[in-house]
């Protein structure tokens, strides 16, 4: 089946020269976009057009373009990663849009994710949270060593589900409080469910939550919007686990 052609689209996009500059929305017209085009390809085409017109192209983050690296961001028409479920922006296609539509593109908005340029935000805050405890300090060996420790099927599955987090920041971007609880809970959970991660569980929960608070992320109010917009379908059951881990870490001292 041949792809449909969207004759004309209006792209309303956030332009900001640098971190200090005051940004504003600019609108650009783009024509003859195939519905088989991915959203980022559409931006590439628009950028070619802007370059030809002597306008500076739009800066946006992207890397693998196969939905696994967590680099692409973009708040499209009011939703993180745009109008589709369980995908990153690179997996979003133009068939999700109507001909003649105006598409609004904004960067992630959070105090902890400052805009660097146009649609690119600085997500170093996530790295800092990971550095505060999202690791294990012991050498656990290779695959055979890992298999030497019996782990129940359910625990292994839950750990893997949490480990699916790619750290894209859609949870923070979506949350009305800019809370990073889904990210931190995924990072705490995938280690908490495994014996190798239990050793440092107390320290990890305390340090990662303290770092998250320090970096200015908001407080979780359990709206659950994060798990709906998460491209990897991370469940807020992990947030309940993080709460448990943090409370027991506090009691243990």
């Amino acid at each position: 089946m041949a792809d449909k052609i969207l004759k004309e689209l209006t792209i309303k996009v956030w332009r900001q020269k640098n971190a200090k500059a005051k940004g504003k929305f600019e609108s650009y017209k783009i024509s003859d976009i195939s519905t088989g085009t991915s959203f980022l390809e559409m931006l590439d085409i628009l950028n070619e057009q802007l370059i030809n017109d002597g306008i500076e192209p739009i800066a946006f983050d992207h890397d693998c373009r196969e939905g696994i690296c967590g680099m692409c961001s973009l708040f499209i028409d009011g939703r993180a990663h745009g109008p589709d479920d369980d995908i990153t922006t690179c997996q979003l296609h133009m068939r999700k849009f109507e001909d003649g539509a105006t598409i609004t593109i904004e960067p992630w908005r959070a105090g902890a994710f400052p805009v660097i340029k146009d649609l690119i935000v600085d997500r170093t805050a996530f790295e800092k949270v990971l550095q505060s405890g999202g690791y294990i300090s012991v050498n656990t060996g290779g695959v055979p060593d890992g298999n030497a420790i019996p782990i129940s099927y359910d625990d292994a599955e839950e750990a893997m589900d949490a480990a699916a987090c790619i750290g894209c920041g859609a949870c923070v971007a979506t949350c009305k409080n800019s809370s990073a609880m889904l990210f931190v809970s995924a990072k705490v959970s995938h280690l908490a469910k495994l014996p190798q991660g239990r050793v440092e569980a107390t320290r990890r929960a305390k340090n990662m939550v303290a770092k998250m608070d320090e970096l200015g992320f908001g407080n979780c109010t359990n709206t659950g919007a994060c798990e709906v917009e998460c491209p990897k379908g991370i469940s807020i059951a992990n947030i309940a686990r993080l709460n448990r881990e943090f409370l027991s870490a506090t009691i243990k001292g």
């Binding site: 009011g78 609004t104 009305k176 200015g216 407080n219 109010t221 059951a237 709460n243």
Partner: protein, 218 residues
């Protein structure tokens, strides 16, 4: 311990524990109010109100209850202010209606409106019965408020509105309290949400039926 109480999860724990305490109080309150439905003479309700005026309740439990309310309100304000600060620049377009419930996004507003209702409610009943102490027939005082001419209808409407607002607040608050404590997982979340909606509807319906009954049938 101080770092725990100042942490985001610590503050949320206090919100949920004070919330659960108030949830229990609301149930006790509803049970006492329901005496108005079951006994037309009002004697049963008066006995309940009398029991609630005993010194051990007034000076033992009431300060605890007031404390529960005050803690819940102070922490709600603190957390909400922090959350406002966490996103200095808002989105031009944000669509949350598909990803979260309306009540979960408006807990602070709902709580604030319930607080306004509670202030009015205290002026109607708590002040004359427990502070001024000049009411002999409590059931009659309640009936008079809802049947007193055209104002009776206005107060009936306001009490029904208050009950509905409380219902929406509880619909999210109930299961959310368990989530904040850590008592939830994929299976229990579904169960808790069902209990949450049931409890919210039960409380809202209960507090709606009583003023309506008194206004139209008493």
């Amino acid at each position: 311990m101080s770092s725990f109480l100042s942490s985001s999860i610590g503050k949320k724990l206090i919100m949920s524990l004070s919330g659960l305490f108030l949830i229990v109080f609301v149930l006790v309150h509803l049970i006492l109010n329901s005496f108005l439905l079951f006994d037309k003479t009002g004697e049963l309700f008066n006995a309940g109100a009398h029991f609630m005026s005993l010194p051990i309740i007034r000076f033992g439990l009431q300060p605890v209850l007031a404390g529960g309310f005050i803690i819940h309100i102070i922490y709600a304000i603190t957390l909400t202010l922090q959350n406002q600060k966490a996103r200095p620049q808002k989105y031009a377009v944000q669509n949350l209606s598909n990803s979260s419930t309306w009540s979960s996004r408006n807990m602070f507003v709902l709580g604030g409106l319930v607080l306004v209702f509670i202030a009015m409610h205290l002026l109607h009943f708590f002040v004359p019965i427990q502070i001024e102490g000049n009411v002999h027939d409590d059931a009659q005082l309640v009936k008079a408020l809802f049947t007193n001419g055209s104002m009776g209808l206005v107060y009936t409407g306001l009490y029904v509105l208050g009950a509905i607002l409380l219902g929406f607040h509880l619909a999210h608050g109930f299961w959310s309290a368990f989530q904040s404590i850590g008592f939830s997982n994929k299976i229990w979340k579904k169960r808790l949400e069902k209990v949450s909606y049931f409890y919210a509807i039960f409380v809202a319906a209960g507090f709606t039926i009583i003023p309506l009954y008194l206004h139209f049938f008493a």
